[in-house]
């Protein structure tokens, strides 16, 4: 069972980064990320008391997305991992977006009336 070719000796994905030279993230980075996360938590709570009209939701979600991105990139090592994992995540989020947006588009257009019914086939 020797294989000079494949990176796994057993094959697997043909093209890949030199595998599994595992990247060890320094605790300093963890601490920095952690500090930002805490600050953002405080910010989002504080900001929610301001009246910004529709922007309240936007800001709250933007902060949440930012926090989640930090966690994914650093705590979950995506910044240091191979593209396949990123495709997996983006794919998952994309599917979530499909579900949310298409369903929502039904609800938002329900009141609309069909317009060009006039020409008969």
């Amino acid at each position: 069972m020797s294989d000079p070719g494949g990176p796994h000796a057993g094959g697997g994905d043909a093209v890949r980064v030199p595998v599994m030279s595992e990247h060890i993230v320094s605790p300093k980075i963890y601490l920095a990320v952690f500090a930002i996360l805490l600050v953002m938590t405080g910010t989002t709570t504080a900001v929610s008391f301001l009246d910004m009209g529709p922007w309240n939701t936007v800001v709250a979600l933007a902060i949440a997305v930012f926090k989640a991105t930090l966690v994914v990139l650093f705590f979950m090592h995506i910044k240091y991992s191979r593209p396949l994992m990123r495709i997996v995540i983006v794919g998952g989020l994309f599917w979530l977006a499909i579900m949310l947006l298409i369903t929502l588009s039904d609800f938002m257009t329900r009141g609309w009336l069909p317009v060009f019914q006039r020409f008969e086939p």
């Binding site: 601490l31 938590t41 929610s48 966690v71 599917w95």
Partner: protein, 225 residues
């Protein structure tokens, strides 16, 4: 199962290789990919709730905002912080395992478990509060003013989403507990520690879910009145 102490580190690592894999790298690669794919299924699993939430909030934004004012924002913020700290300890646990530091590994894993329990404890306090104030949906639901239907929907979603999240926390605590026992027995080495790493991914994911639940459930009505 081979007793790790009697083997050299390399031999031990080799003994962890399952027969159908060719190398430890392949094995590790497979388990990391598997965990990410699993997390994608989790995204879509929670996605059903997020969709329901979006639709109903869109239908009655004001009712939702008013209902959200009945959340305890202090406890909510504290709980968010607790989870973020637990994510840090989990990340440090992975780090310790990767660098082969057993004592810190044990400490970080224990801390993570404690923080997990702290989160659940605070959540339990909140739940009892809500239930005492008749905010559990159903025949006993009371809500002043004309927003009752929207508020009932909000609390249905609140209990559904946070309940599902809490369930994930409980599972996570169980997993980290298992890791703790394994780490205590010296099962992890720099060459072989992917159980810690993969469980870490799960823990962080549960944290991320909360990062979204928090603003969506606690913060939407603060600016009114």
């Amino acid at each position: 199962m081979a007793e790790p102490r009697s083997l050299s580190r390399e031999e031990y690592a080799a003994s962890r290789l399952q027969h159908h894999f060719v190398s430890l790298e392949q094995q590790r690669d497979a388990s990391t990919l598997a965990m990410w794919v699993f997390l994608v299924t989790e995204i879509l699993f929670f996605g059903g709730f997020f969709l329901t939430y979006t639709i109903y909030r869109w239908q009655d934004p004001i009712g939702f905002a008013h209902a959200s004012q009945h959340m305890d924002i202090v406890l909510g913020t504290i709980n968010t912080a607790v989870l973020i700290i637990s994510s840090l300890t989990m990340a440090m646990a992975v780090h310790s395992a990767a660098t082969g530091k057993r004592k810190p590994l044990l400490a970080y894993l224990s801390a993570t478990i404690l923080l997990g329990f702290a989160f659940l404890g605070i959540k339990a306090v909140e739940y009892t509060d809500h239930i005492r104030h008749h905010l559990f949906p159903g025949p006993g639901f009371r809500f002043p003013g004309p927003d009752k239907p929207a508020a009932e929907m909000f609390f249905s979603l609140y209990f559904g989403m946070t309940g599902l999240h809490a369930l994930h926390m409980i599972v996570g605590i169980g997993i980290v507990g298992t890791l703790l026992v394994m780490a205590y027995r010296g099962r992890f080495t720099p060459e072989y520690h992917n159980p810690v790493e993969v469980s870490g991914l799960y823990w962080h994911f549960v944290d991320i879910v909360w990062i979204f639940l928090f603003p969506l459930l606690y913060l939407i009505g603060r600016h009114l009145k």
